[in-house]
Amino acid sequence: MKWEVVIGLEVHVQLNTVSKIFSGASTAFGAEPNTQASLVELALPGVLPVLNKAVVEKAIRLGLALDATINQKNVFARKNYFYPDLPKGYQISQMELPIVEHGKLNILVGDEEKSIRVTRAHMEEDAGKSLHEDFHGMTGIDLNRAGTPLLEVVSEPDMRSAEEAVAYAKALHTLVTWLGICDGNMQEGSFRVDANVSVRPFGQAEFGTRREVKNLNSFRFLEQAIKYETQWQIETIEDGGKVQQATVLFDPDSGETRMMRSKEDAHDYRYFPDPDLLPVRISNEQIARVRSEMPELPAQMKARFVDAFGVTPYDAAVLTGSRALATYFESVATASGQGKLAANWLGGDVAARLNREGKDIAELPINAERLSGLLVRIADGTLSNKLAKQVFDAMWDSELSADVIIERDGLKQVSDVGAIEKMVEEVLAANPKAVEEFRAGKEKALNALAGQVMKASKGKANPAQVQEILKQKLA
């Protein structure tokens, strides 16, 4: 039987505020245990929550970027369960009236664009951490993370493959970092994904029973977990079994998922409106102000790059993979007038070198002005691609401009016909065997001869001219 997988994602986006969602305690990562747990996070008797304005505004930002409805009245609720890293015994979250509803996010898988519906995004507080290292067989509780603001972004079950799920997660990751509402650091848990996975026979309208894979903190794990889970569910059904609703954990070491709790012991969260907090009301003016402060969104920028710089939709999508990259590209393309060349370089040599050095676009040692200087020299024929790479490497390790390096190292491409003819003649004279082979119909010999000419010119001869003159002389 042919099976179809159905995936919906719930993503916990940690908002990059300086203080917590309900108190003035710091959100900085990595402090000594419990030094950033104020009276509120410790849930001392008598303490009360006061909502951080930045959390609301960041949520509005995301809502607008997702083309969603901003609920101008939204309400906090208590989600009740006992856990040692949840000091109040309830999490302050939103249930019936979340701040954001009915959004959408477009993703690109291969060449195909698809729109994924975003059901809702709601504000809530993060929990603390349980440390299971051995404290005489006990667990240590650190509440520094407790009260860190989160947006839980919930999608509709609109994805039909692990690749689509990853594309959606990446697009959302790009968006939240683009908007400047999340640092996007997945290792530190700033962007955590839960995947609801079910399978059904292809063509069947009803959904199968889903299992929720919790807390995936990398795109690779997300993909692995969905693929494993899909396969497991299909095999379970094909072996005559039934998938039971459950929450599972993904083990990156084994690449497998394992049961955390079944539906039977699912929590009864007893949600009710938090009486310590009044309804959040958002004015039209506040929405308009947040909108006016928003950067151009990746989708709009992508369309503009195709239009203005003639890059392919695929390249435009890659270039708008982060706001830093997009901004950099736009500066280079505008200054050099070489959109396509800029796209090729950023996707090629620049990306490769960054990758090799484990660096991010923000850490690129060559600023947009210098890179555009290099591209101008490629475009006007001063540099061959090969020489350009040499100049690029020299620029990486210095503060110098392309022109200064070209001048200093004498790297100008030789396009002088007389000079090239002279070198060609010398090479032909020195390689009679190759000349003979070429004339006998061995096309490859031409490349060997061209290589000799390039070598003689120390790589500076214009390769196209070398080919052309060689052919003339051998004709």
Binding site: G46, L48, R270
Partner: protein, 483 residues
């Protein structure tokens, strides 16, 4: 000195007839002598009190004193106070010394009021008799066989027995008014949101409100002016300008429209209490008040609605008491869940456990709409009843409780009977209105009975005006039990 009002003590301090240390010492002696039989205080700390008193004297000497600087008062053991055990009447918090001050405490400290000690209460403010305290029941100073009322029974008994000239208290369903009535003191619960709940251990967040008890309405006005006020740490604290609640005390009552809700004088009201309220109304008429009949038709429903909403909120509010970060932890347990269950079973008394379980049940899957949402709809009906009633009157008068104080042990075995005695007080909390209890006479068996004055939102000064004028022509508030 011991029968002096706050107002008089303030004058004596200003006139240097007495020092704060002398006043504190005098009250501490009386507490030492009488608290063993009354059990009104959970904690008394002579050294801390005298230190505060000495600081107040220094402030006076430096010319930095406010009206109440150096006056000693007692605090209900529900307000977190740095360095003091804040037990909330519970074994759960028997070992909890607060690392911070509630807003109410900060305000009192800023005014220079001296802490005499921490008063006994029903555990986590749940109760109408003060029999639910881990520290034992409080006795009614008028009759040691009687309950003092609850949950602020310790505060009421302390003021009645003149162990303190005033005390802070809280009211979630009548916890200021009912013990004030049963102990013959004046108590006020302001409009919800007027006194910050920051640092007040939460029972039912949408109903809890801090207030005060004293001998007179005039003293209540002085105290309320100290503790009321906006506090940014409480999201439900209302941003309003500070008020002088004494400003209207002297206003004449001529033309005042007094509403009598017919449902408050129906079946269930003891005859002696009814007579006392009638007499009080007559006194007010003599002062020029006009009486109009009003109706609060959903009064009866306040009991079920309250006993859904309050336990629901409490069930979540009390989840933080889990033996992890503070409070009682069971000494033996086999795993985490066992630790939670044992710590909470041992740390909470039976009434608290009952209300937590009721709250858990009404919020649980499948029952939320039938109970919680239903109760909130009834809450709206009750608030609307008051709105309609206040269209025709300035204040509403009635009894605080159906009977005078009952005997210790009389209702403690039957929670439902206990709950029914809250009939006249719960609606006010559900609506969020201000209300008072003012001493108005004595029952057939010689126990005090209070008159309830209910005001419209933010009408505290008006209520205090009515109470003060009443106290100008009556002397029930001046009577003290023989001890």
């Amino acid at each position: 000195m011991i029968h002096a009002t706050l107002k008089q003590l303030s004058q004596q301090l200003a006139d240097k007839q007495v020092s704060a240390v002398e006043l504190a010492t005098g009250y501490l002696q009386r507490i030492d002598a009488l608290n063993p039989q009354l059990n009104a205080f959970i904690t008394v700390d002579r050294d801390k009190t005298l230190l505060e008193a000495a600081a107040a004297d220094a402030r006076r000497a430096a010319g930095l004193a406010g009206v109440l600087t150096g006056v000693p008062i007692a605090h209900k053991d529900i307000f977190c106070q740095q360095g003091w055990k804040t037990s909330c009447g519970s074994k759960m918090l028997d070992n909890f010394v607060s690392p911070y001050d509630a807003h109410v405490i900060e305000q009192c400290q800023a005014a220079g009021l001296v802490t005499l000690g921490r008063t006994n209460m029903d555990e986590f403010a749940m109760g109408s008799s003060n029999e639910n305290s881990y520290y034992g029941a409080v006795r009614n100073p008028w009759d040691l066989a009687a309950i003092p009322g609850g949950s602020s029974g310790g505060s009421a008994a302390a003021v009645a027995a003149r162990l303190a000239p005033a005390a802070t208290a809280t009211d979630t369903g009548g916890s200021i008014r009912q013990p004030a009535s049963h102990c013959g003191v004046t108590g006020i619960k302001p409009t919800y949101g007027v006194v910050s709940r920051f640092g007040m251990v939460a029972y039912a967040s949408s109903l809890d409100q801090g207030g005060v008890m004293a001998q007179t309405a005039e003293d209540c006005a002085l105290m309320l002016s100290v503790i009321a006020g906006f506090d940014e740490r409480d999201s439900t604290s209302l941003e309003r300008a500070r008020e002088d609640y004494s400003r209207d005390l002297a206003q004449p009552l001529a033309g005042l429209r007094v509403g009598l809700p017919r449902e408050y004088f129906a079946d269930g009201l003891a005859a002696d209490v009814g007579r006392i309220i009638d007499n009080a109304v007559s006194e007010l008429k003599k002062l020029g008040a006009e009486v109009v009949e009003v109706s609060l038709p959903n009064t009866r429903l306040s009991i079920p609605a309250y006993y859904v909403i309050a336990p629901a909120e409490a069930s979540a509010n009390l989840s933080r008491f889990d033996g992890v970060r503070y409070g009682h932890r069971a000494s033996e347990y086999k795993d985490l869940v066992d630790m939670y269950e044992k710590s909470r079973a041992e740390g909470f008394g039976s009434e608290v456990k009952r209300r937590i379980m009721v709250g858990t049940y009404v919020l649980s899957h499948g029952y939320y709409d039938a109970y919680y949402i239903k109760a909130q709809k009834i809450r709206r009906l009750i608030a609307d009843d008051f709105k309609a009633a206040f269209a025709g009157c300035d204040v509403i008068l009635g009894p605080v409780a159906p009977t005078a104080a009952f005997n210790l042990g009389e209702k403690s075995g039957d929670p439902v009977q206990m709950y029914l005695s809250d009939i006249y007080t719960l609606s006010v909390n559900l609506a969020g209105l201000p209300a008072m209890s003012v001493p108005a006479g004595f029952s057939d068996n010689g126990r005090p009975v209070g008159l309830q004055i209910i005001g419209n939102y933010f009408a505290e000064a008006k209520m205090l005006n009515v109470a003060h004028q009443f106290q100008q022509v009556t002397d029930w508030h001046g009577k003290a039990p023989a001890l």
